[in-house]
């Protein structure tokens, strides 16, 4: 399995001259392999946004190393590395550079000096992949948030990145937009085996991931599958996160005396348990 990204004992502080203040990121280690979807969850201030900046080389760690495709990220290989990473930011408007949809998708290609004919082909292919191919000449202010984010994904895909990073990409979207974006990402994972790193506070988004990293106060509090992480239950709520719907309902049912076998993460599991524990006698 190819290792796409790894953090090895990475620490970063915004105030290195004041060692008494807590570091933004403290001794964090993890890795992402090809084809995986990793979600980083945590409250505001937990370090997750700093980690994203460390991945894209906007910041460099004071301790430890960040490796992309097994190479340590440095100032020298920064630009080459960036062409391997595609990023979608939180604010759909503040990353849309082009005058129209296709212009924006071409932006990163232009920056890399990709020849014209190839640019045209890649722009059309990427837009088709996110199902925005009918919007080539639309201007951004005529698009919904979800559509703008899909264009941003297309812009990232056009560079054929090894890793797609979604930095709270659904936080500012309405439920429909959020749905569109997540559907698109899931379809891309199936079609081209895209590796995804998503930073989010949306529980449903985290549930799609293969593994979840739970950040708290700059440290990696826990890492595991969504089931393992959400099993931490109340600890998550304490740290500002929500539990998945099925888990909340399970708890409420149990409080009211409904017989259930255990914790559940999906509605289907919960419904099945209701059946087996109460009807199948």
């Amino acid at each position: 399995m190819t290792e796409i990204l790894s953090f090895n004992n990475v620490s970063f502080s915004y105030t290195p001259d004041q060692p008494e203040l807590r570091k933004a990121v403290q001794n964090v280690s993890f890795s992402i392999n090809e084809g995986e979807w990793i979600a980083i969850v945590g409250h505001n201030g937990s370090g997750k946004s700093t980690m994203v900046k460390l991945v894209s080389g906007l910041l460099f760690p004071q301790e430890g190393e960040v490796r992309v495709m097994r190479n340590v990220l440095t100032e020298e290989n920064l630009w080459e590395t960036r062409s391997n990473i595609g990023m979608v930011f939180q604010n759909p408007d503040n990353q849309f550079v082009g005058a129209t949809v296709q212009d924006d998708v071409a932006f990163a290609l232009e920056n890399s000096g990709v020849p014209y004919k190839e640019m045209v082909e890649r722009v059309h292919t990427s837009l088709a992949q996110v199902k925005m191919d009918k919007f080539l000449n639309h201007e951004p202010h005529h698009l919904s948030g979800g559509q703008k984010q899909r264009v941003a994904i297309a812009g990232a895909l056009a560079m054929r990145p090894k890793l797609l990073i979604l930095d709270e990409a659904t936080s500012m979207l309405d439920p429909q937009g959020r749905d569109e974006v997540l559907k698109t990402v899931r379809a891309l994972r199936e079609e081209i085996g895209l590796t995804v790193l998503s930073i989010t506070h949306d529980v449903e988004e985290a549930l799609y991931a293969d593994r979840v990293l739970f950040m708290n106060d700059g440290k990696k509090y826990a890492e595991g599958t969504p089931s393992e992480i959400f099993a931490l239950g109340d600890k998550l709520v304490e740290f500002g996160l929500e539990l998945p719907f099925a888990m909340r309902m399970t708890k409420l049912f149990q409080e009211k005396g409904v017989r259930l076998a255990g914790q559940h993460m999906t509605e289907q599991e919960l419904v099945n348990d209701l059946w087996t524990s109460n009807f199948n006698k």
Binding site: R82, D93, Q95, V97, A108, S112, G113, P115, H141
Partner: protein, 265 residues
Amino acid sequence: MMEKMIFGRFIPGNSFVHLLDPRSKLVFVFAFILVVFLANNIFTYALLLAFTLLVILMSRIRLYFLINGLKPVIILLVFTFLIHILFTREGDVLFELGFFKVYEEGLRQGVFISIRFLVLVFMTSILTLTTSPISITDGIEVLLNPLKKLKLPVHELALMMSIALRFIPTLMDETDKIMKAQMARGSDLSAGPIKERVKAVVPLLVPLFVSAFKRAEDLATAMEVRGYRGGEGRTRYRQLKWDWRDTVCMAILAVMTVLLVFYRN
């Protein structure tokens, strides 16, 4: 209030003029502005009017929009006309009104200057009505490219222009939102003493500036992560194509210039 204002008044379409390369349009209009001053008699002014009419017809733009474009300068036009009517004292007296005498030359000059005004306004309006702002920026960028050798930051200026243009509708929407939010809190830009109204601009400008800076920061980060590091080695996605229409356009320009030179006094 600021609802759905069409910036630059660009009206999309498929006419001959719409399909011209922005470079030929820019060159045409620029040359036209110079060539207008060649006219100095009835025939040459009539020629100017005829060519302008030809361009208007070829652009298939509705008269409504052209008239609208004239509105801001109509006062200037009337004022200039009146100045000539009243203060030029040459030629025969055409009629008298009290102690105001209208001279033949005054009327002539008045009419000529007004025609000049009119055709200039119409021609430049046609330019902005048939060419999207981004096309104009592209045209200017390519035309100014040779100046790169003189260290003029052509690429950076063009990128600044295109990003600014892209954000104008977004910023206008935001201005509207902020204005409404402050109005909902009792702020009133349209009524009250001047001092109050000036103060009411602060709750509008501060949030706009704050958000504009945040946008700029976010955008710069996004551009950097997407590999932007200046114009070196960049390729162009938006290509300009010169075709037969553009050659025809230049030919019309040439014909017009020759006719004006030939028929002027």
